[in-house]
Symmetry: D2
Amino acid sequence: MADFSIGDKLRLTVFGQSHGPAVGCVIDGFPAGRTIDRDRLAAFMARRAPGQNAWSTPRKEADEPEILSGLNEKGQTCGAPIAVLIRNTNTRSGDYAALQALPRPGHADLAAWRKYGKAWDGRGGGAFSARLTAPVCFAGALCMQELERLGVSLAAHIARVGGILDAVPDTVQPALPLYAPGAFPVIDEEKGEKMRQEIEKARQAGDSVDGDVRCLVTGLRPGLGGPYFGGLEGKISQALFGIPAVKGVQFGDTRRYGSENNDAYRVQNGSVVSSTNHCGGILGGISTGMPLHFLVSFKPTPSIALPQQTVDLRTMKEGALTVQGRHDPCVVPRAVPVVEAVTALMLTDLMLQGE
Amino acid sequence: MADFSIGDKLRLTVFGQSHGPAVGCVIDGFPAGRTIDRDRLAAFMARRAPGQNAWSTPRKEADEPEILSGLNEKGQTCGAPIAVLIRNTNTRSGDYAALQALPRPGHADLAAWRKYGKAWDGRGGGAFSARLTAPVCFAGALCMQELERLGVSLAAHIARVGGILDAVPDTVQPALPLYAPGAFPVIDEEKGEKMRQEIEKARQAGDSVDGDVRCLVTGLRPGLGGPYFGGLEGKISQALFGIPAVKGVQFGDTRRYGSENNDAYRVQNGSVVSSTNHCGGILGGISTGMPLHFLVSFKPTPSIALPQQTVDLRTMKEGALTVQGRHDPCVVPRAVPVVEAVTALMLTDLMLQGE
Amino acid sequence: MADFSIGDKLRLTVFGQSHGPAVGCVIDGFPAGRTIDRDRLAAFMARRAPGQNAWSTPRKEADEPEILSGLNEKGQTCGAPIAVLIRNTNTRSGDYAALQALPRPGHADLAAWRKYGKAWDGRGGGAFSARLTAPVCFAGALCMQELERLGVSLAAHIARVGGILDAVPDTVQPALPLYAPGAFPVIDEEKGEKMRQEIEKARQAGDSVDGDVRCLVTGLRPGLGGPYFGGLEGKISQALFGIPAVKGVQFGDTRRYGSENNDAYRVQNGSVVSSTNHCGGILGGISTGMPLHFLVSFKPTPSIALPQQTVDLRTMKEGALTVQGRHDPCVVPRAVPVVEAVTALMLTDLMLQGE
Amino acid sequence: MADFSIGDKLRLTVFGQSHGPAVGCVIDGFPAGRTIDRDRLAAFMARRAPGQNAWSTPRKEADEPEILSGLNEKGQTCGAPIAVLIRNTNTRSGDYAALQALPRPGHADLAAWRKYGKAWDGRGGGAFSARLTAPVCFAGALCMQELERLGVSLAAHIARVGGILDAVPDTVQPALPLYAPGAFPVIDEEKGEKMRQEIEKARQAGDSVDGDVRCLVTGLRPGLGGPYFGGLEGKISQALFGIPAVKGVQFGDTRRYGSENNDAYRVQNGSVVSSTNHCGGILGGISTGMPLHFLVSFKPTPSIALPQQTVDLRTMKEGALTVQGRHDPCVVPRAVPVVEAVTALMLTDLMLQGE
């Protein structure tokens, strides 16, 4: 139902196709009376934008969001749905023309064909394209500004690229990093250098590589979420799995035995906290007041330069396919702000519900 | 919103508390005209029932479901909501009496206290109790009978207990196991024996141990699910995270490099299939027609016999707590049918929607 | 989707069939820590119960609700879903046996047959039966107690039976009536007497008669609801049309010309109020702070004693049908608390959402 | 929740403000592979557009919808969300400038102020403006083309303006009218002439007048909708009350006594039909297969040229207000296609759900 929407009281609806006229979104339910910090919003979106450096696709996008609705004369949010439009300016359809009948392995092509039939727009992945994460980031940046008002901060980093792991942050009292556009979002810059080498190696081999993103949230009040199907994990994971290429989500860092996994309680400054935070800040589906932390796994970019075996749907003959076009050999660096964005969205929704 | 409900066209609502009069559920939207195979339904529920063997809690439950609504005179489903009641017959409140003010580490106690306040019923975990998975299994068993009519089969097995891994099934053409009540659901019985030893070891140490469940689905038509927030992974994971103690969900078995992770297409019996199935039967959020497979991670049972540190909420003094009562030292064996149940539920919902 | 459920944050799910073992409901999202006034709850439910007086069906129901879940040891709501069971004790199936193939004009029989097929349980209307409004009243009575805590009062009265109109209440500063069980809920007792005569006349003629219910709500804070599809009228009407036999809903008492319909603003006790209340306390889908008022139209009971023409679905032959059994010749008197109940439910849901 | 969205499987989200840069909508879930008849779509939208004739506001709007997403290279729908943008070209803010602090009687101004606070954009009614019905009509026109493929037709007419009633159509076998843009949509052209006189009279008096719209749907299969809260009446009315100025909805044309209201069954061409159709084609919330018909009541336009009493929210002083600007003295003529649009939307949604 409504594949391109998420959220209850705060509801995001995205639209667009990779090679259509535009992408964009509608954000319904955002509080009225907020002045949006446009510079920070642009800086956040720039973190996702392609074409900035060696480790991302050279495709350039202006990504200038036009706000069509939702602001009053003073530029404050006014209660009307916030609608945002980002024109597609750099769509090279030729790259993808023959692909419609030659489903790319690891891509949605064949699945989309089976769901939508021949009318499906396969150019650049159509509506499955990660291009739609640009408006998701717009919405997320807005929500992060709202969360900040509520005392909540969140940040993600690259936890892994291929076999290279970043340092593990303190999950009891984490220092949240704040990444500049263009920065490679890791905690340990040495590990970051190795990751970039791993990505470069994959690129030169015409291949791609997988990785993980870890997200941390601090300042969340206890009592958010609910038991059973209303749990924080379920709500957040539903949104995270909406990000293209996500294949796994893990909350906390479970230890093997109960005796080491249970986070013992103690008193700090007059309130009950836990000494460790293996539960990831969630017990029984409800926020405990400790920082939230979870790991999101991304598969390697399916678009690779190496020849792959596929089937021509017109002739039902097997044959080799070489995917043209420019692609990130690893989706993880640019996925970091997207993970932050959908997390911010779901948490803002829950807080607005008083949940 | 509506923590105890899940599903759109087929909607499950569960209710009950561990130490209240009853648990149960309402299933709205189940097709009319079905004759329920009660014996198989009972056999399925028995797989979850406690007290059957060494590796589960000795608490005995009759678990006799009474169907209050939803059947016609001939015992067929009639379109009315199917309401089911399971009386609680073996509730030893004394075990838990003092716990309300002494939150058990790793449990929902403190989080629930913060959400619901003092009125929260903490006896046996209240509404957070895994006891509510009994009606979930009732609903799931019903859906599995419906899926069978539609040519869909599903089965889960224990993929891991502590450090012991079960054999990995073929995910291209899996042979789905069918487990009898009382069976220990593994593929490799030798590994099963080692897992039971691991569980027994944890029990004797007054400790508990974690593990994974893998679920496989065959016969699913391609085209089910949708892009972005309508993806199969998001919908299924939301339901899975509703199962107590689930902390992670991983779809497919992602390989490190794109060249090995992409599942190449080939022709078999006139239709396009993939040679491998690392994507877990889902691309772009949509079923590909290959078997679905995913891994669900469970934390170790938080209830352990060892003393743990907690805080008395009345005095705000730290102190040791020893959890009384009888508990599974590993939730995984009995969680296997619950994973099957919620998966069946979500897939039936999607199929009824024509999605 | 989920025909038997309504509400977002507070969600009611009803179940049961007229001649099945029981009816009941699950209320998810009701605040924790409330002590239910059981006597007032029973008194409210008694207003809907049949068999009390000349103007309702002699079918007797114990209507003893058993609370299966949702209360703690002290009997307070505890955050768990509140599940309620009402056993059916007086089901005379024989009355309805042959009806399955002889659809009763004005009833859901044929429509249900077409939706659910032959498996549909037509006995007493099955799940379409007004018997399911008993658990709706349970839920509504609960919500009325919650609304009272929030300073909101509501009451409905019979506005019309056939051609007889009750007095029209002051809609600017209404005095809300409080009806005892067994009372005939009108403002003007003389009109009430005439209505009862109208009902009695219909009964003696083997016929039935239509009517209207007016509902008034005071104390509602301004700002509840929302524009467009989030409007109060839409939300409340969706719930009202869920009551069997409702065919129309009218908010406010619109005047013909704008100059007489617009409610002029004035200052009273330092706040802005309106001198009249033709808008029914709602403008732009949002509560204005003035009393809510709306009219709900009920069709005449379709079950009448006169012979009617129908078609035997087995033979496709036209023929006469005489409906047996005992039925209210006018549904309106017993519908009054049901209107109150669903109104209370929707308003509580909105208030809990902070909407 | 999500005030500006409606529908389950087919979901419409509208956005915009009367005096903002644009209005528009996103339609998620529309079937892929449809070629849109753009001429008929434009003709439908023209029926709602203002400025065409004596009985509507002279404000001119280009109303040129730009489709931003949802079509493939051939212009067919492709499964991606259909996003539509209509720029606002004729926004005279000066007309409304002082109104923010002077709530107009009968308008949403004060209610919006109370919901959104001072940041609310009151220019031209902001997001409450009927201007947003332009994208609603776009979506409705699309759905009407889909319904036509499924054999369903629908049309509405002006049933009443002030005291003037249009002819009542045959509701058993109605001949659906097809209105050209610019036509005054009535069945009886003489009555139409009198209605226009009534509207003109109101305009000259600086006043406005109320009215009703009747909608008819033919070709709908039996079995659509559901019992209780899933009923057709509830779903359709929720959408209808989303149209600005709607205050009442009445399904069918209920007769006073059961004996005349019950629609007797008979056999026609081998299938069961009813001789009359007082139930409006719906019984038990489910379509019977007979034509749907219902009446929608609109209040008189709140914007009138006569001076009205209001309160200056800055000074809390009562005073006279004269609303400037150009307004329809009767919303009903232009509301006719809007009623058709939201009806088409809800029916398409239900049919896509297989409900």
